[in-house]
Chain length 310, copies 3
């Protein structure tokens, strides 16, 4: 029987289809239980540690809320760069050896690719990758998948447009490797220089996945069931005029929604800055706030599963 | 029946007399229960989020302690400027949409007037204003009111001197609008340039409230039941010599207490720096440390009431 | 009967032998209970405050984990320099008056000698010193003592080598005053200028304790049951070349272990940087990670004892 007990969650691509299915099923079950006011599997006596070496309020608070709502407890280093042993030069391996004494499961966010794996080498407890630089963000991909299934009633056979800075957007990298298993067609919509890395497009095409690359949001929107928008990060542009010029053409507004495939679902990992106009919030397919809400229930499922308390 | 369930607590002046009375009554009841070792209304399963965009250890810890002592749980962003989505440019409206998924009630502290209201626009859960710049600090005003009633046995018909930087002291702004309902006479004691804004004095006078403005602490102290002292903030003075000169005349020391109306009660929202000499601590009317203690029970009452768990 | 209920834990030397014994016995008892899955004495309803004026992830998280694992709750100021009333100029005495309202016990870490005592003057609740500058770190000394007893089966009559910057290492200062009661022989191994202060060596010699001072790790290692290594802090050296030159001669590597007394136990308060090579980790006498683990159980014992819940 599939189990995630004691396992690290480092990369979306490490998960088998059975494991992904187990996480989805558990999250849906928890959601139903919460809806009827039932108490979820008790994590009473368990402690989650959140080690955040770069700011991510949303990821940190959603994990902490998930843990507390199941009766568990939390210890937290919100500013690990400032306050931790890291400042004294400790390796993440040694930090792992430390944290396994204080907690039963740990979530790490770090600016460097591979840092979650390094922590996991040291720690005997399950390590969950909460984002490692330009690397992976597997729990975001899982909640995205959950959201797609919930919004569309299915994942299979959808056309998904990913829009924005696809070169640096770790979120969409993790998501692609999950969706590839479900017969997804992709539009990759990015300005020149910020297109999806061939390290992602190559394997997808080798798997026979249909990938259409374009720099036109409109052409993708008219043919897509999902419009998944991420930020164009200002700091990635050497030429700020170029940034200002491009920004406008990647904004989702009421006009674009009108020109899109009817019923299109709009997702965004949040926080948004200008990528989606607030006028879009009232559109019923605007699912980004519901997507954020799904983060809690998916993370509850993950915590309960790796702790073997389900 | 008066209820605060689901309500935001943004400004002291938004509260009806019945609501203020309900909060006071609940706080006194909780205090009695704690005195006899009884457990207060259980908030088990509920989560408080504290979002602090500027430092205020006292306000944050007193809310968190209040929540935990009633069996609830807490998620916290102590350094929201540094660590939150705010750094990425998220609006407070969107932050509200986020936090409603993670918590059942939220306290925000922010340097900008109106920020608590903006968060409340986004968040479907109750928002409590923990201080918004030069705006309001309603829970401080409520605990001040509670303290006055406890120290004096009544609120009606007292003479209250407010002393210090009244222009920038949001604490006393919120307090004035509460006290105006109880037939209070006011002394406003401030150096030139830091006097109470006419936006406060005008409406008070229109309500028929007696207001005496002076720059002499002594003349006010001899006629007041309450001496409420706040800081002269050094950074508000362009001329530092002027600050040093003035500072001395607004300090409460043993001599001033001797010259005051017998039995005068001395309050201060804390932290104090030099405004009240430590020699005053032993005076039985020195109530500022008891005032701080009252913060917990008043905030327990507020949390239980807005969560509808009382 | 010996009791620590309501007591401050400020300096290792304040503790009587009976009190040290009580802490050790309680920690061993808790360890056995945890091993058999039993729940430790419930601190349900109690709140620990952690006030950290300088970073120490390890000390903070181990106290917080200890509190939570016994069913208690935690409020935390991880960056007290930045976010607290300290920034506004509040004295630690006043901070003590504040925190006693919010918590039942408080741990303070502060860069200034004597700060824990100043907080304790104000606070009516037990204050635990989590390290005050070059002063003391009594709970580290207690967990070191616990570790020595656990690793060696006894404390009496051992030869202990303390290696590194002994002038500034508060950890070893506290430890010396504890070990002096057990007939310990000491090697103090430090480079010139960083030797053990005579304020420590003098009293030890007056008590008849054998103290051998040297700058050679090897000569100490061959005759010691315990090798207790602390960091050479780069920032203490005016001459960086001198630092680089010395550093190498104080590193513990596989060669040194081979040259040491058979069965030598290697301790380090962690985090380590380069002082102990990772090749040493696999040696069975390398006890520094187990030492860190012991921190939780010893701090559980301390919290339960000062709260009188044992």
């Amino acid at each position: 029987m599939t189990s995630l007990q004691g396992k690290d969650i480092l990369r979306a691509s490490d998960l088998t289809m059975d494991e992904v299915e187990l996480i989805m099923r558990t999250a849906f079950q928890f959601e139903r239980m919460m809806g009827t006011g039932q108490r979820i599997a008790s994590l009473s006596g368990s402690v989650l540690a959140t080690l955040f070496y770069e700011p991510s309020t949303r990821t940190r608070l959603s994990f902490e809320s998930a843990m507390l709502r199941m009766g568990g407890q939390v210890i937290s280093v919100a500013e690990a760069r400032l306050s931790s042993s890291a400042a004294k030069g400790e390796t993440l391996f040694d930090t792992g050896k430390m944290i396994e004494n204080y907690a039963d499961v740990v979530v790490i966010r770090h600016p460097t690719v591979g840092s979650a794996a390094e922590l996991a080498d040291g720690a005997a407890i399950p390590v969950i990758n909460g984002g490692d630089g330009a690397g992976e963000h597997p729990t975001q991909a899982l909640l995205d998948l959950f959201t797609i299934r919930k919004e569309k009633g299915r994942v299979e056979g959808l056309t998904v447009a990913l829009v924005g800075d696809l070169r640096n957007g770790r979120t969409v990298h993790s998501l692609c490797s999950l969706l590839a298993n479900f017969g997804t067609r992709f539009y990759f919509v990015a300005p020149p220089g910020l297109t999806m890395p061939t390290a992602i497009t190559g394997p997808l095409r080798n798997l026979g996945v249909e990938v259409i690359e374009t720099d036109s949001v409109r052409s993708a929107a008219v043919d897509s069931d999902i419009l998944y928008v991420i930020r164009l990060q200002k700091e990635r542009f050497e030429d700020q005029l170029e940034y200002e010029r491009l920004k406008g053409s990647y904004v989702v507004d009421a006009d674009l929604v009108k020109a899109s495939k009817p019923g299109v679902t709009i997702l965004h990992p949040l926080p948004r800055v200008d990528e989606i106009k607030s006028e879009v919030d009232a559109y019923e397919g605007a699912a980004y706030f519901r997507q954020a809400a799904n983060g809690v229930v998916v993370r509850m499922a993950l915590l309960a599963l790796v702790l073997g308390r389900i």
